[in-house]
Structures are given as structure tokens and as C-alpha cells.
Symmetry: C2
Subunit: 206 residues, 2 copies
DNA sequence: GAGAATTCTTGACAGTCGTCCAGGACTCCT
DNA sequence: AGGAGTCCTGGACGACTGTCAAGAATTCTC
């Protein structure tokens, strides 16, 4: 049986969570534009329809806000590639779609990826960031590993390296592409595409 | 002919440069411990024998100080591997020395490498950092390429990918190793060693 | 519609930041 | 020795930060 108090309580929790989501969305926008170090709570609040005090009503402190944002970022980020894995019918098709997916998100979501690398670097100094950052890193590694595994499977081959090594190299490739793309290099995305296909071929064998 | 004024002037320039070097050394130390965002000029000065005002006597502003530090970092960082290239007589020896060199510097100079990745991320937001960061990145890429080229040469083989791709993958490998090593993983360095040898073999062919 | 609970605003607080500058301390040359 | 130039100190400035709390505004409940 649900009492009236229960219903009130649940509605409040929902509304509370919804506000947090809303605020985090705006915060993520501001963070991706200015970077972690340069973004203040007042600046975040200015890009929402609320005042800076509201942030402390919904989040204990700055770290909790940032971590909430990063967790949300993870949710949208990882599962974008699972459709590629599911739709692939040939290794060539998978490779092409994967390479194109990387290039597309490198272009369209450049600011968000930039923020991710910023926060991952910050986690090297700010210990409170590490658990969440590590968790996101691991889920990205699993995502890459699903791609590699499916690619090997479709071609009747087997992966020749560990999941960690595969992720490290693809991540390095992507980060370098992002760096050059944001610096204005027109070749960055093409190099990313060809590099991804090249790497994909080299982490599996006959 | 050198006038007395010339001699005075040159001595002053030398002393001026020497002070800058000294201050930059301390600054680099503090930066590597605290990270770019958390390091203030006062904190840097406290780790030297001078007051915070002195920093503005030798450097125009914070950016100039940081950039001077980064340039010095480059000098020590890149050329550590050239001895490895020069000493190598067999491909196996080169691979072993290179892998060991990576693991050693990942352990011993972890804080400096952490700072490098921090600053490279900052350059994505702070445009004034980009030229110097790009220059260091390029010199690191050339360093990797010398390793790869020599490895291929010693084995009578040829590189199968671009210099950019080789650097991106090795950099990704190293960064991931640093991340895990600083997080306390005991496997990080071993994975780095085996990963490096694995990659080295996959960027060249018969 | 009154009263209670919530959501939000506003201003203040104590710190810290980069920068600047007046002037003391020092070094060097004649 | 003394004066000129160099080097360095320490305090002050205004701007900005995260945090907090008092109370206004809004929403909800009965």
C-alpha cells in the first residue's frame, strides 16, 4: 500500500532528480566550452535559468556537481557504438562504420571529448575524481573490445592483443586526432579514419 | 671589439637567464606535484628561495613562466631515448631497451609525465599554450619514429604505418600505463613493457 | 484560501588569485 | 667611499572563487 506521504516523497525525489539532470546538462555545456579549471559555479549558473545559490541546493559542492556531470556524459558516450556492432554484417562494413563513427563524433562532439580528456587529466591530481573516471575508462575499453571482438568474429579471425592494449592504442589515435582537429588541421579526420582501419586490422590475425 | 658595456650587458643577460632557469626548475617541481590548475605563483615562489614578487621580475606573467617551464621540460624529455637508438645492435635488444626505458621513466618521472598530459589538455582550451605544446608533441613523434625506423632497419624490415599513427599508439599506451601506475596498479609497468614490444612488432613488416 | 513545505534568490563571508609598485638591499664600477 | 644600476621584498589592489544562510517566492496540502 502506498500512503499519501509515499507519493509525495516519490514525486519530490523525481522532481529533485530531474532538476539535477537539467542543471547538469547546462553545466556540461559550460564545462565543455571553458574546461574544468576555468569554469566557476557562477558561470555555470549563468548558462542556466537559475542563480548560483541553486546549485548548492541540488549539489553538495562543486566536486559532486562535476562528478554527476561526468557520469551523465558516460551514459551518452559509450553506447553510441553498439548500434555499429549490431548492424555490421561484414568485417569491411564494420571497419568502415567504426572509422566513420569515430571521425563523426570527433568532429561533432569535439568539445565534449575535449572535456573528457581534461577531466581524465585532472583525475591524476584530484583523487576524488579517480573512481568515476576509472569506471568510464573501463566502459570505453569494453566498448572498443566489443568492436574488436565482432570484427575478428566476422572475419573468422582472433584478436592478437589484450583488451587494455587495444583500448590504449585506439584512445591514443582518437586523442591525437582530436588535438589536431581542434588545432585546425584538415587532415586530422582523414588520418583518424585510415588509422582506425589500420589498427583494426593489426589487432586481429588470420 | 668588445666594450666594457658589452661585457657588462652579456654578464647581466647570462645571470638573468640563469635566474630564469633556476626559478623555472622550482616551478616545474611545484607544477608536477600540484598540477597546472592548482598551482599559484605564490606557491611556486614558496618552493624557491625568493618571494612571489620576484617571479614578475623575471617573467611577464604566469603564462610566460609556464611556457618557459614546458620548453625546458622538452629538452630533458625527448633526448633520453636517442642513446637507446644509438646503442642498439639487434632488433630484440632495441625492443627490450625501449620497453624498459618506457617503464623506467613511467615509474621514475611519473609526476613530470602527469604534468605533461595536464598541460597538453590545457592547451585544448588555452590557445596560447598550443604552439609550444604542438612543438613538443612533434619532437616526441620524431623520437618515436627514430625508434621505429631503427627497429625496422635492424630487422631488415620496413615501417607499415605513418609516423603520426605510430606516435599516437605509443602515446596512448604510455598514457594508459601512467594512469594505472599512478592509480596504484602493480601490473601497469609490466603491461607497458609487453605492450611496447607488441606494438613495435606491429608497426613494421617483413 | 490559509498554512506548511519546497524551491530559489540575494548578498555576504573568508580566501585566494595575478598583478603591480614603492622602496629597501645588494652588487658593481670608478 | 660613494653613486648608479640591478635585484628583490612585502604589502596593497581589485577581481574572483566556493560556500553559506536568511528570507522571498513559489508550490503543494488540506
Amino acid at each position: 500500500m502506498t500512503t499519501a506521504a509515499d507519493r509525495v516523497s516519490r514525486r519530490q525525489v523525481d522532481k529533485f532528480e530531474e532538476r539535477r539532470r537539467l542543471l547538469a546538462e547546462g553545466a556540461l555545456q559550460t564545462l565543455s566550452e571553458r574546461g574544468y579549471a576555468r569554469t566557476s559555479l557562477r558561470e555555470i549558473a549563468q548558462n542556466t535559468e537559475f542563480s548560483h545559490g541553486t546549485l548548492h541546493y541540488y549539489f553538495r559542492d562543486k566536486v559532486e556537481l562535476i562528478m554527476y556531470c561526468v557520469r551523465r556524459y558516460k551514459a551518452v558516450c559509450v553506447q553510441r557504438y553498439d548500434a555499429i556492432v549490431a548492424d555490421a554484417e561484414t568485417p569491411e562494413g564494420l571497419a568502415a562504420d567504426f572509422a566513420e563513427g569515430l571521425a563523426t563524433t570527433c568532429r561533432d562532439d569535439a568539445l565534449m571529448h575535449r572535456l573528457w580528456y581534461d577531466l581524465r587529466s585532472q583525475s591524476l591530481f584530484e583523487e576524488s575524481f579517480r573512481p568515476d573516471v576509472a569506471e568510464i575508462d573501463e566502459s570505453l575499453e569494453r566498448m572498443i573490445w566489443r568492436i574488436v571482438g565482432r570484427y575478428a568474429e566476422l572475419g573468422g579471425r582472433e584478436a592478437t592483443c589484450s583488451s587494455a592494449l587495444a583500448y590504449a592504442t585506439f584512445d591514443g589515435l582518437f586523442q591525437q586526432a582530436l588535438l589536431r582537429h581542434l588545432a585546425g588541421s584538415g587532415l586530422a579526420l582523414d588520418d583518424l579514419r585510415t588509422g582506425a582501419r589500420h589498427l583494426l586490422d593489426h589487432v586481429v590475425c588470420a
